[in-house]
Symmetry: D2
Amino acid sequence: MTANEPVVVVNQAVTEGEALAAQRAWCSALLEINATYEKEGQAAAKALAEKVIDAAYAYQMGAVLFKPTLTVNPQTFRPTRAGALSYFVGGDPAFPNDKGFALKGWKKCEAVNNAIFLDGNSAITMGKVHFTDKNGKVTTVDKTWGYVRDGAGNLRINLHHSSLEYQPK
Amino acid sequence: MTANEPVVVVNQAVTEGEALAAQRAWCSALLEINATYEKEGQAAAKALAEKVIDAAYAYQMGAVLFKPTLTVNPQTFRPTRAGALSYFVGGDPAFPNDKGFALKGWKKCEAVNNAIFLDGNSAITMGKVHFTDKNGKVTTVDKTWGYVRDGAGNLRINLHHSSLEYQPK
Amino acid sequence: MTANEPVVVVNQAVTEGEALAAQRAWCSALLEINATYEKEGQAAAKALAEKVIDAAYAYQMGAVLFKPTLTVNPQTFRPTRAGALSYFVGGDPAFPNDKGFALKGWKKCEAVNNAIFLDGNSAITMGKVHFTDKNGKVTTVDKTWGYVRDGAGNLRINLHHSSLEYQPK
Amino acid sequence: MTANEPVVVVNQAVTEGEALAAQRAWCSALLEINATYEKEGQAAAKALAEKVIDAAYAYQMGAVLFKPTLTVNPQTFRPTRAGALSYFVGGDPAFPNDKGFALKGWKKCEAVNNAIFLDGNSAITMGKVHFTDKNGKVTTVDKTWGYVRDGAGNLRINLHHSSLEYQPK
């Protein structure tokens, strides 16, 4: 080897750009599930949601730390893929309170971050996400996403905590 | 070196036990800040809260991803130490809506985890935290904590997302 | 969720036991490649070595930091899969000095560690490895192995530095 | 918070530039210890070496995986600070074979990397390091360095495997 031979660099670090791209992909997938539901019905929306979850979440690692926006006791948390799927598209008798968050007519989804923590092969983002429905009504949530890089080099969500904004009485 | 010489193992991995201990320490500190407030007033409580934040949070890394339970726009997130301190003990004109969460008469604090993610020198926990006040009233929040190991070997909170349970209308 | 519901723990940390098992697997594979060579010839040994490299090394991440024991300039380092394969079984005109380290009649291979560094989803070991050939002659090397966990949960070698012991003149 | 408020990014990832800077700092420190030895003697060189080790190595984590170039059994590995210090400046009766590698008249030290692995808050480099002494004689070693980021944000060496180039007989 000589001094001017190129150095091979293997870089596993998650960049801010990758985290932002993963957020945009999540928003796009949500809108696409809703559009599929409106055009083709719940079964098609569910099939798409399964693909999205399998591609974007890290359930293959054993569990995901997932607290969706609108879940209630005793099913607040959704550590399993089945619980995530039911939350997004409903229709699962095992989760009777789920109406399908992705089916609520969303036309726009935008993440506005407050802070991002990049820790090597993982990243965490925290901020607001604004959802606009077909009537123009905006719902804003406080959202934390954690991402890990999988073996194929893609980011996957291993943490998702979403909550409605606090309303002082 | 011989075959039976002991192997030196440097282990940076965060264990479940360490994460649980950090949760208990957070709860204990909250109760202690409240007790100090009741006995010695706001200034003493504030001094203690500063020590707690400096020991338990990772603000020295540049920022903490912190969404407290009761904050409102435009100060929902508290990436700075000053914002965290104000949230816990109030009294900072820069954060006029903060009443001091740690001063609300808490007598008991208990974390009940749903899932834990251990990723080497960091960990994330998600679950319920139950706060009981002096009148026996219980407030439950959904809480995510992220921990990183600092240079001295201690866990520090780099992520904290807390939210009241969703109330369906 | 109730307080006595089991907590789901996703643990990505590499343990000392996993690192030791990976070392034993490397030694076993080396002996097996040699045995295959003796019984079935170079082509069969090469086919097995390809399987071993693909299962045990992290070339799919882009490169491996590999300094084998017996390589010389200008091909000291073997960041590519082809370079690793040639080192173990020879026969590649692109690496004319390689005789095939795995084909040297090894009957025993034992790692004796000096120190191990466990850093979450990666680990590094350093120590002696003793190779015994069919005549009972022992060759000892100083060896560092780095391991990373892949997407399927298995450890893969991303670092391998091996060197003959220093001989003072 | 508004959409155009700046996002706070905490980035713990080690960059290639940081790893290269750490290599240059190691080389500079080696030359400086030698220069101090030539001007002020062994005691001054030892005092400087202690500072360098305390600033650049990660012995405070419990141990360093260190296989120096010229060590012999049974003291090949130097997991302790005392063993590293003795290797660099000699004079420790507990390590009778150490002559002081840093005192050998080095005037130039240059690292030429083959491959670099960046894994979040750690990095590993592998390549040649060329040492030129006062007579212009060049000694080349194969060297692996592992770096971890400490609590103060600095890189520290947690792994160091150095070996003379293989000489075929």
